[in-house]
């Protein structure tokens, strides 16, 4: 085989060997992944509205900064209760249309948070609309672009319109107009709200690979202190209630100086964290956090809230949270 003098042989060999390798490493595995795939039992199909939202998600290039994959390493525990599996993508990763392929939603950069479970983590529609209209309204440090073109300005919105309650005077234009969510924003928010991890029985769920050694052997024993309440608050609560607990007028209530937070009996506060809250029409609904936070974490957050931003109330213990959680579960049953 003299490749140095025979151009035909050189070209044919490099072509066919490459084709063979490519078939083995890409085409066959891809085919296999496509065929051996089924939705989980009970996994909801995407509605037409949600599918439209996915199209907006792709058109706007959200995948450039947001991943949708919980990897099997410990740091990704923040983004879901279990690592992602192929079935999770059964309904979303279908070919979009004749012109466009199946959307690449797994992503390769995490400049913004992973969105695998955003529907569960942040179920508040109002929050999503405000955040899309201008992310810095709800998350001061955010570097995400604003998407004003997904919204419309209207002088007198219809009753069916989704009107944004902009905190302060941030609405553009004359001030008389209202900002109303456009069709694309409505679809996108519906899609984001649909992003929830389908639970898997623990026995068959793939586990996380621990990425670092545990410190000091505290794991497994009853911890002497509570987890870091300030960090948990930043992670779980600050998106709505804001970093200084000041809330957003018209959208999310303030915690600083709140009578519920400062109540000497923390039961209502704990109940709201566990069960959610939707009793005040002027504010958006708060989702329940019982399934996402442990007793220790709820206690840490409540203690942090009760001792920060001028609040001054007694700390909360994990036992108190546990007791209230049990009562709630009993009343439901």
């Amino acid at each position: 085989m003299n490749f140095h003098k025979n151009h035909r042989r050189l070209v044919l060999v490099s072509f066919f060997v490459f084709l063979l390798l490519s078939t083995g490493i890409a085409v066959l595995p891809a085919f296999q992944m496509q065929e051996q795939n089924a939705p989980l039992p009970g996994q909801p199909e995407l509605s037409d509205l949600e599918l439209n939202g996915l199209r907006v998600y792709i058109a706007e290039g959200c995948v450039a900064c947001h991943t949708q994959q919980v990897r099997s390493i410990e740091m990704d525990k923040t983004w879901g209760s279990r690592p992602s599996i192929p079935s999770d993508y059964y309904y979303s990763k279908k070919r979009m249309d004749f012109w466009r392929q199946s959307p690449s939603i797994l992503g390769s950069e995490r400049t913004g948070p992973d969105l695998t479970n955003i529907g569960a983590r942040q179920p508040s529609e109002e929050w999503h609309y405000l955040h899309l209209y201008n992310p810095r309204l709800v998350v001061e440090e955010s570097v995400m672009p604003s998407y004003p073109w997904l919204f419309e300005e209207k002088e007198d919105p219809a009753a069916t319109d989704v009107v944004l309650n902009l905190p302060g005077d941030t609405s553009s234009g004359t001030g008389k107009t209202k900002i109303v969510a456009g069709d694309q924003a409505i679809a996108l928010v519906a899609y984001l709200k649909s992003l929830k991890q389908e639970p898997l029985p623990e026995s068959i769920s793939p586990g996380f690979i621990p990425s670092r050694k545990k410190t000091g052997g505290t794991d497994g024993e009853v911890p002497a202190g509570l987890p870091d309440g300030a960090a948990l608050y930043t992670q779980t609560c600050a998106a709505c209630h804001q970093a200084q607990g000041q809330g957003l007028p018209g959208a999310f209530p303030a915690l600083a100086g709140s009578p519920i937070v400062n109540d000497s009996d923390p039961e209502t506060l704990i109940r709201i964290i566990l069960q959610g809250y939707d009793a005040r029409p002027e504010f958006a609904a708060m989702p329940p956090f019982a399934s996402q936070l442990s007793d220790e974490e709820v206690a840490a957050i409540a203690t942090h809230e009760r001792s920060s931003w001028g609040n001054d109330a007694a700390p909360v213990t994990a036992e108190e949270v546990q007791k209230i959680r049990e009562t709630i579960e009993q009343t439901i049953q």
Binding site: I25, G61, I73, Y90, K94, P103, P113, S146, K213
Partner: protein, 564 residues
């Protein structure tokens, strides 16, 4: 910090290794020193012996003569007229071409310009120039977009136009510099290599022009689609929808046959190694572009995405550019490549190893574990072609280091080759599960891609362009401007990548420690500012480069208008 990075085991290992290496270095230095001293002593002793023998053998008159001569020598004084004469200088044989009494650059040394004039058919020169000018335009446009995007990390409210939003503009940047800048420049430069090494004219100029317009049309149409929000699904580097990408595949097909027919009609027996890489690069890229656009759904699409995005870099840009180095580097140094066989070895291992490693972009993802492992293993195997290539290029340069400092072309090659080694090795290491844990999804990736696509590909392309264009247009660029291009690009790249690597590592550590996500955003701000600074320098260097291209091109345009 209780991070695994600082665990006693790792720290100790690193320190121990450093101690061993340090000790080894010290020992080596001491040994060499000792040996040199010994050699020196021996020489001194020999000289002494020879001198005393000489003295003993001298007659007394001879001694007087020697002493007299020495006395005269010690009392010699300069008259001040030794270096000049009263005669006027005359250049009787016409050897002097340029007389300068007043060097225009007191701070910079003059680089060599005595290149041989390259005789190419004017039609070929025009074709190559068209590709290079097109490439330069897209470089300036693409990096302007990139620079704008880099600023958006620090100033997210820079604009609120849908067509200029980050998500839509990011693929405009990547695709423009990929297909517009790098691909056009590569193909243009290859036209020269293929004809030159085949000792023949190109098979069809028309095909060359067709491919040129196809690629340009593709970039224009693709970018307009992207900005309008029409993309293929967000998979990196295949964001153009298939009718647009088809133009590129057609252009590749045409170019392939044009080169293949030229090489088939070559007037020399052997197919020069450059042509191996160039032909294979075209072939492989057509295959992978077709596979990349196959209609897979579910995670099948993710498998092809990993395969496509990595091969786009490995089988197209890297393979093709290597082919260019194998011609332009030795020809700039005016000597043959160090080892032809090493080039052949690198060729086959490039095909074997590079093809298998796409899934390393999806380590720990829901893709099959075996696929990830194969990708990681072969990533480590990439060390073979990389070391083979680097060795070959450095050994070719060896012995010509003087030529590098006296040339404005070779520094670009040197930086490109160094980045070839550093960037590729760093990429291999990054695919390991351990490092992937820390760096994946962070800005470290962005640093890596710029180290390779910019540090390797762009620097090599500039080297080739500066090596060939003055020979074609018979007009030198201003050396000061070439130097400015080089240093702005090089320092800019370092100011861009190093902060992103540091920031990316800090980001990864912050995630591993389970800190709130927003902290990983705010901690990046200073590093993003550095990225914007580095990016600005890189962009400025491209303006300088465009200016250089313009100055080198002027005579061609003049010649053309005269002909009309």
């Amino acid at each position: 910090m209780d991070h695994w990075f600082f665990s006693p085991g790792i720290v100790t290992t690193v320190v121990l290794t450093l101690v061993v290496l340090g000790a080894a270095a010290l020992i080596l230095i001491a040994q060499v020193n000792k040996y040199l001293e010994k050699m020196q002593k021996q020489t001194n002793a020999k000289d002494k012996l020879a001198f005393s023998e000489q003295l003993i053998n001298l007659e007394s008159e001879e001694v007087d003569q020697v002493l007299e001569a020495r006395r005269k020598a010690l009392h010699f004084r300069l008259t001040g007229k030794e270096l000049g004469t009263a005669l006027k200088p005359v250049d009787q044989r016409g050897l002097v071409s340029k007389l300068s009494q007043d060097p225009d650059r007191p701070f910079f040394s003059e680089k060599k310009t005595d290149r041989k004039v390259v005789h190419t058919p004017p039609a070929l020169t025009r074709l190559i120039m068209a590709y290079l000018v097109g490439a330069t335009f897209w470089l300036v446009f693409g990096t302007l977009v990139g620079q704008y995007l880099g600023m958006k990390f620090v100033l997210p409210e820079l604009d609120s136009l849908s067509w200029l939003s980050f998500g839509r503009l990011r693929p405009v940047h990547t695709n423009t510099v990929f297909w517009g800048w790098s691909s056009l420049a590569m193909i243009g430069l290859a036209y020269y290599v293929v004809t030159r090494t085949s000792n023949n004219t190109i098979y069809s100029y028309r095909w060359g022009w067709t491919a040129f317009w196809l690629i340009n049309t593709m970039v224009v149409a693709g970018n307009l689609c992207l900005m309008a929000g029409i993309n293929n699904g967000g998979g990196e580097y295949r964001e153009y929808i298939w009718p647009v990408a088809l133009l590129f595949i057609l252009a590749l097909l045409i170019t392939f046959f044009n080169f293949y027919k030229t090489i088939a009609r070559r007037k020399i027996g052997e197919i020069y190694i450059s042509n191996w890489y160039i032909l294979a690069g075209l072939l492989w890229t057509m295959v992978l572009a077709v596979i990349g656009y196959l209609p897979f759904s579910g995670l099948g699409e993710t498998v092809t995405q990993g395969y496509y995005m990595h091969q786009g870099v490995g089988m197209w840009f890297m393979t093709f550019t290597l082919g260019l180095i194998y011609y332009y580097l030795p020809s700039s140094l005016n000597k043959p490549i160090y080892s032809y066989s090493l080039g052949v070895l690198a060729f086959w291992t490039q095909m074997l190893f590079y093809t298998m490693i796409g899934t390393h972009h999806f380590v720990f993802s829901p893709l099959p574990w075996w696929l990830q492992t194969v990708a990681i293993v072969f990533s480590a195997g990439m060390f073979i072609p990389v070391v083979a290539g680097t060795t070959n290029f450095l050994m070719t340069m060896k012995g010509s280091w003087k030529a590098i400092s006296s040339s404005y072309v070779l520094p670009f090659f040197l930086i490109g080759v160094i980045f070839y080694f550093v960037g590729s090795t760093q990429g291999s290491v990054q695919s390991l599960r351990f490092t992937n844990d820390l760096w994946h999804f962070t800005d470290f990736n962005v640093a890596h891609s710029h180290m390779t696509m910019y540090g390797i590909i762009s620097f090599i392309l500039w080297a080739c362009i500066y090596a060939i264009v003055p020979g074609l247009s018979l007009r030198e660029p201003r050396q000061l401007m070439v130097g400015m291009h080089f240093w702005l690009a090089f320092i800019g790249l370092l100011a861009y990548t190093v902060p992103l690597m540091i920031g990316g590592s800090l980001k990864g550590m912050s995630w591993i420690e389970g800190k709130p996500f927003i902290e990983s955003v705010t901690l990046m701000i200073p590093f993003w500012i550095w990225r914007a600074i580095g990016g600005t320098m890189m962009f400025l260097s491209h303006l300088v480069f465009a200016w250089n291209i313009y100055t080198m091109l002027k005579p061609i345009r003049k010649a053309k208008t005269q002909a009309i």
